[in-house]
Amino acid sequence: MIHPIPPGTRDVLPEEMRELRRLQGALLEVFEGRGYGEVATPALEYDEVLTRGGGRGDHAAYRFFDESGELLALRSEMTVPIARLAATRYGQVEPPHRFCYIAGAYRAVSPQRGEMREFLQAGVELIGAPAAAGTVEVIDVLEAALDAAGLGSAVIGLGDADLYRDLLSELGLAEEARDSALARLAAHDLVGLEEELEAAGVAGERVQSCLTLSQLRGGPEVLEQAREHEAAAVARASERLRDVNEALGSRAGGHRVQFDFGLMRDLDYYNGAILEVYDPAVGRVLGGGGRYDGLMKRFGLDLSAAGFALDLERVQVARVEERRRGGGDR
């Protein structure tokens, strides 16, 4: 008898499970070794708690009423539940707080796209550590995690979440025009972005400058190249990235980091540094994260914070692919 399961979910059989457990074990060892204690939170939360993380982006896709009429939702990621946990349970404890997790999350998928409705994330949250130092610690943990996962060729893209919000306001775009230009940037639709900016009356050379800026990515040299773009928002973002670069430079690692002035994350609680993880063996982004200094405040605890999450199934695919390509050692 064949008994189906919903599309975007899957069973794991012993052989794969052993591999997955090994991967999880290696990651947990890295996280715990750096003082990040593992936590678990319920897969179900009050919808009101999850929407506090922000309206746009990757919010909960599955909601339902419980037996007493409360609106519940399945979490779509772990940062908001951990912010809730930290604010509730650690309000009186001296920061910083370091948490890690390996947990399932849930999101809506388009049919027949190979996307998972239920997926496994591994990540850390560092709460109460301000920019530069806190960001660099998170990047450090991420690099060690990628090493432990055997992803020798993975790259961390590092950008700034405030850059375009600020820059577009500086260019004089009203809120509506700004949001629609930001949506083009997030989709990386440069043709559409050019049209939007021109329609909003931005001068030709500033439009071109904005387009070039969004294509600026590479080693630390791009932090210097960004100086050509004369705008206060760009100067501020470069300054923040330079701080991170300096702090990164004072330690052994850092070889995985690529600076990227075109990076955008679709979760709206990010500010300052944002990051994404890529591997040449896989065409999709393996994970991401960044600073979310404003999020904790929404839960009544005014602490700066940063973290990342890796999609474990994609990491596993990248691992297998790198192995097939003959080892990822560098």
């Binding site: 796209r113 989709a187 990386h188 639709d189 440069l190 043709v191 294509q215 690529q258 065409g283």
Partner: protein, 214 residues
């Protein structure tokens, strides 16, 4: 990372001009121009993978091709596939339009008496979005082949379709009623390739930009 860049090349209406612009950008296209039935061509500069235009976003999104060329109509219809749209190449210009039968007011009549127009199309998402954004209701009929046929035999009151010269419409006694959007060929890139093979992709983008202007 010594593997050459993989470019998804659309067969069909865009094929010829795509090869022309690649030539101008310094890519050797003599092989795909021949009568070979192969789908993949190794040129000294990059690997050309030929496919249906509507498959280009699928290959590029998954990273099976690093970059690709396809029509804006395809990108609009598959806007849920996250690929980076880097360049308007300017050729393959055509219009997405709403068309009805010459001399007939079936579109208006259906809207008034039935509250919704019945629209046959190969582009259900573009059609749906367009009518939604203009506050009108439609009954959508998705067809795969020659959509001009539909209103002639009473399947739908009108069509939403891509028009280049307008000859096909004319021959089927159809006329443009509304223009929805203008479409041209676009250069797209995979998200990860765009980050990890930045130098190569930027170089190709610049060459294509030059070529599309020249």
């Amino acid at each position: 990372m010594s593997e050459p860049l993989k470019l998804a090349v659309p067969r069909g209406a865009l094929f010829g001009e795509t090869l022309d612009i690649l030539d101008a950008a310094g890519v050797d296209t003599s092989e795909p121009r021949g009568d070979s039935r192969s789908l993949i061509f190794e040129t000294p500069q990059m690997t050309l993978v030929t496919m249906r235009p509507s498959d280009v976003p699928t290959y590029v999104e998954a990273g099976a091709a690093d970059v690709g060329i396809t029509g804006k109509d395809v990108l609009l219809e598959q806007s849920d596939r996250p690929v980076y749209e880097l360049l308007d190449l300017g050729y393959g210009r055509c219009r997405m339009v709403l068309a009805g039968r010459v001399g007939s007011d079936r579109l208006g009549d259906s809207e008034r008496s039935l509250g919704a127009m019945r629209i046959a199309t190969k582009y259900p998402r573009i059609a749906e979005r367009y009518f939604e954004s203009t506050g009108r209701q439609i009954e959508l009929i998705e067809v795969k082949g020659s959509v001009e046929l539909a209103p002639l035999v009473g399947l739908g009151d009108g069509i939403v379709d891509l028009v280049a010269t307008g000859r096909t419409l004319e021959e089927n006694e159809l006329e443009v009623r509304e223009e929805i959007v203008e479409c041209t060929a676009r250069f797209v890139a995979n998200r990860v390739a765009h980050k990890l093979r930045a130098a190569e992709i930027d170089e190709l983008t610049e060459k294509l930009r030059e070529a599309s202007r020249g």
